[in-house]
Symmetry: C2
Subunit: 202 residues, 2 copies
Amino acid sequence: MGRNKELNELMKDERKQQIFSSALKLFATRGLASTKIADIAQDAGFSQGLVYHYFKSKDDIFIQLIKMAFTQLNSAAKQLEHFDLPHLQKLKIAYESMMDGLVHHEDAALTHLLIATSSASESIPDEARLIIDEQYFFPYEVIRRIIEAGQTDGSIVSKNSRDLALLFWSTIRGLSIYRATHHDTFVVPEVESFLAMFRNKE
Amino acid sequence: MGRNKELNELMKDERKQQIFSSALKLFATRGLASTKIADIAQDAGFSQGLVYHYFKSKDDIFIQLIKMAFTQLNSAAKQLEHFDLPHLQKLKIAYESMMDGLVHHEDAALTHLLIATSSASESIPDEARLIIDEQYFFPYEVIRRIIEAGQTDGSIVSKNSRDLALLFWSTIRGLSIYRATHHDTFVVPEVESFLAMFRNKE
DNA sequence: ATTATTGTTGAATAAATATTCAATCAATAA
DNA sequence: TTATTGATTGAATATTTATTCAACAATAAT
């Protein structure tokens, strides 16, 4: 018979991981259409044909990456909500940990970028669009709930919570995009400046 | 001889305008690579071949649009700087007029989106990249100077002005992107929430 | 009306790129 | 060893799409 099955699976996963890693980088920085299968293969360090041994198509890779990106983001959001912290502190932690990701974890930065640019694109596979439509608002809702809780105890300013959640994520997304092209000069803005939008000052 | 020259020029400009308009919409929402010449022609309402009567190539259209987008944005920034208003008010006006653009002027919204997504892309023509690299920071510098002036007179908080300018534009860009995909549900967040990042509260 | 000029089309053509595939290779269980 | 299985390659092939082009149309000066 052939080779050991479990080891095989491991190697297969490793290969897939390599492909995901290269594809994430390229899709996030160049977009789906501009990224060639040849680019992914080259970046991952093997032949074009092999990509098709592991994935059905370019779209397939993209769709799976989108799934993974939202899974990560949304599970982080879910975790955040259940932390035992004052509400304003949760916003602070969220900002700080995402900024830390942007600066220190290339993959996290690329994941944010992929979400920001893919969500805004009208030229992604239907299945990717479906996933985005289903999952996009979850982090908004989490932040909104945290804001409303903070408004109840007076720590967060009494403005429309939907607006505030929108400001929260727009700012984060904007910073993610900036960071993508200017990693060299990117410095995280002080969290207190960011929090000023939410803090209740009376 | 042929037809009247000036009229011709006018008609030619009008045609070009049509192409620009369709291309702006498509490039901004789908990206350069996903936008087909056929799409542009169809949207503008004429044949594929005609596009090449007015433009050298797809890249050519894109590059000119990028030029126009930065010209608009940067001249608006320049104007803003010379308004005779308190410094914090300038930030307020900037936010309000850009938000007004997002909501009421499709082209303004698309221009912001084009800038946000193209700037972040590593797969645009060299000439477009050049223009972006030359012009990208101008609005940041304008806002930064306004912030520093406001810090001098005490109306704006004394944090690093570069950070604050980054927050300013990141938030605007984030909102632009959100608006692009969710025009139906987009509501402009109150300017006071936005301004809280900059206002000196003592 | 005629003619010169530019506008316009849609069908080639040329390039680029996704996908398939036949052949070879590497590992290992027998 | 050797037979079997899956991995890997690189060269087809198929598809998509940018670009060119030959033909026809419309316009307006003569």
